[in-house]
């Protein structure tokens, strides 16, 4: 008896995992299709959730249908029709909609083929509304993972190490804001498109970075979140194949993700780019990144900030050893990036690239120009870079002071130790005057 029970329980668990998987695959398309019909993303998501609950109830008895997406959509639409019929207050407003839904259902028994063509348009509309600039970046990220990534509130909460009620509330508020402000379910066009696309890319990259440099939590990296961001990015690249910056972002993420294995050592310490074992870089992801860059180049010759960062990452990815790095090219790319998005940190990176390409003296001139930059006043990499260049130029007493200054500014104990060791080596150097 108990053996049968446990067998039954195991079967139930497998089925639940299968339904979860179906949901992961189909939910975005189902929600996107319903959003077009109801013109209300929040309602569409609620209806899709109800269909999921119905599936969890019915599929254990009936088995998983051959076309689960069509089943979920049809079930959600029936709920929509019921809801609209019941809702007396909004009856008149919704009567038309209910008729449309019914007509739609009658004229299109084969949901899959009818939904096939407009589905990518609907998905793209869903991307743009989930990443609407009216919402905070945090809300956009949560809503995007929920609506397009098929993640549950609990999964999003765990990914961002935020209590579940906070995420749930964030999503509810976001959906309410979209409804209250009557944000249209559409793909923006004309000059608005670029700004709106930036907002989408920002959200995807935020999700990626949350996983890649894990600002909070026990782990240095949370690979699952990187995978979610990559999946969203790859999806977006197929939805908007003519946008070079989308391919640029995908390339940047693929190449950064290719270093996942190499950037943390066995004790969990971060490993800097030049100290990484390049044999551990994932060549498949590098290849995908380089291909994405090529796709962007085929569209046109303009380069946005994501594509430029991807190309810088690609220079490192192509170099089998650090000395093989094409530094003159990195200098050009940083120069272009600095013109597009001026920032002292980019200038500092450019100075490092210049020193690697054209010698420490050329680099030092650029670094000295940044000395008065207030935003870098407490940035330990400024004195650290300057110290390194001074050391290479044989100006050891000055280098020592800069290494010590950098050591005082860094919050990383290992790095502080390294900087103090280098400072000490300046003192005892026999060539020291």
């Amino acid at each position: 008896m108990s053996a049968t029970d446990s067998h039954h329980a195991a079967e139930q668990q497998t089925l639940n995992r299968t339904i979860e998987a179906v949901w992961r695959i189909e939910s975005a398309r189902v929600i996107a299709g319903l959003s077009r019909l109801t013109r209300d993303v929040g309602l569409a998501e609620d209806l899709a959730q109800e269909a999921l609950v119905a599936a969890l109830e019915q599929w254990p008895r009936s088995g998983v249908p051959d076309n689960p997406a069509a089943w979920l959509t049809a079930t959600a639409k029936r709920r929509a029709i019921d809801l609209f019929r019941r809702n007396a207050v909004a009856r008149r407003k919704y009567e038309d909609l209910a008729r449309q839904l019914e007509a739609f259902e009658q004229t299109s028994p084969d949901l899959d083929s009818t939904l096939d063509n407009p589905i990518s348009d609907d998905l793209l509309r869903l991307v743009f509304i989930a990443c609407h600039p009216i919402l905070s970046t945090e809300s956009r990220a949560a809503l995007t993972l929920r609506l397009l990534g098929g993640l549950t509130t609990d999964e999003i909460a765990r990914a961002f190490l935020t209590p579940e009620p906070t995420i749930a509330q964030r999503i509810v508020r976001a959906k309410r804001t979209l409804a209250d402000q009557q944000i249209p379910f559409e793909v923006p066009c004309g000059p608005e498109l670029n700004a709106r696309l930036s907002s989408v890319l920002e959200v995807v990259y935020l999700i990626f970075n949350e996983g890649y440099s894990a600002t909070t939590g026990n782990d240095l990296m949370r690979p699952a979140l990187c995978e979610d961001a990559l999946r969203l990015g790859r999806m977006l690249a197929e939805l908007t194949p003519t946008e070079p910056e989308v391919h640029g972002l995908v390339a940047l993420m693929e190449i950064q993700a290719s270093r996942t294995r190499a950037r943390v050592n066995s004790t969990g310490e971060p490993v800097l780019l030049f100290d990484q074992n390049r044999a551990e870089w994932d060549q498949l992801l590098i290849h995908r990144g380089l291909t994405a860059i090529e796709r962007a180049h085929k569209i046109n010759t303009t380069r946005g900030p994501y594509l430029l960062q991807a190309e810088i990452a690609a220079c490192h990815a192509r170099a089998r050893t650090p000395p093989n790095t094409n530094w003159p090219r990195i200098v050009l790319l940083y120069t272009e990036l600095a013109q597009l998005t001026p920032s002292p940190v980019i200038e500092l990176n450019r100075a490092v690239a210049v020193s690697m390409a054209y010698g420490p003296h050329a680099g030092l001139t650029l670094v000295d120009a940044l000395a008065a930059e207030p935003s870098l006043a407490r940035y330990h990499l400024l004195p650290s870079v300057r110290a390194d260049l001074l050391y290479k130029l044989g100006r050891h007493p000055e280098a020592r002071i800069e290494f010590e200054r950098a050591a005082a500014l860094t919050r990383n104990a290992r790095e502080r130790h390294l900087l103090l060791t280098r400072a000490a080596s300046c003192q005892t150097d026999p060539t020291d005057p």
Binding site: E20, I25, N218, G233, N412, R414
Partner: protein, 146 residues
């Protein structure tokens, strides 16, 4: 997590120079496009018949080369793809959605999980976890510039 989807061979796929049915190619193309659009397909390749391949047998210090073709089609591989998905169940669901690429004979598609970094991470001691907590916020973001 990543899975390798291994498509086993059939007598048809083992035939030399045999070209697949154009209709079938179209269906496969559509399916692969769907996988790409969902962002789950990382790589995909088909293999030549085993007559164009070889086996190297390892025994102690000796290495013996055996030229193809090999018998037992169902133990051979005709192609593979790499999917990045959330669970084995998701990989199964994607594979089930694929068209039958060989209606003439039965064949199997095997789904195997690829080792990831996490799989090699040993159980951490309290001290190591503490160190990770201290270091995590200081992990340099090496490509982002802002």
């Amino acid at each position: 997590m990543r899975f390798m989807v291994i498509v086993k061979a059939t007598p048809e796929t083992e035939k030399e120079g045999a070209l697949p049915d154009p209709q079938l190619l179209l269906e496969m193309g559509k399916y692969n496009e769907e996988l790409s659009k969902a962002g789950v397909l990382l790589a995909l390749d088909g293999l030549h018949p085993s007559s164009k391949g070889a086996r190297v047998k390892f025994s102690g210090k000796s290495r013996t080369v055996i030229d193809g073709p090999f018998t037992e089609a169902k133990e051979l591989i005709a192609g593979f793809s790499i999917l990045q998905v959330k669970s084995l169940e998701e990989a199964i669901e994607w594979v089930k959605r694929g068209p039958n690429s060989n209606p003439g004979s039965d064949y199997e598609v095997e789904i195997r999980q690829i080792f990831e970094m996490e799989d090699f991470t040993p159980i951490l001691s309290e001290e190591q976890i503490q160190r990770k907590v201290e270091r995590r916020a200081e992990l340099p973001n090496q490509t982002a510039n802002k």
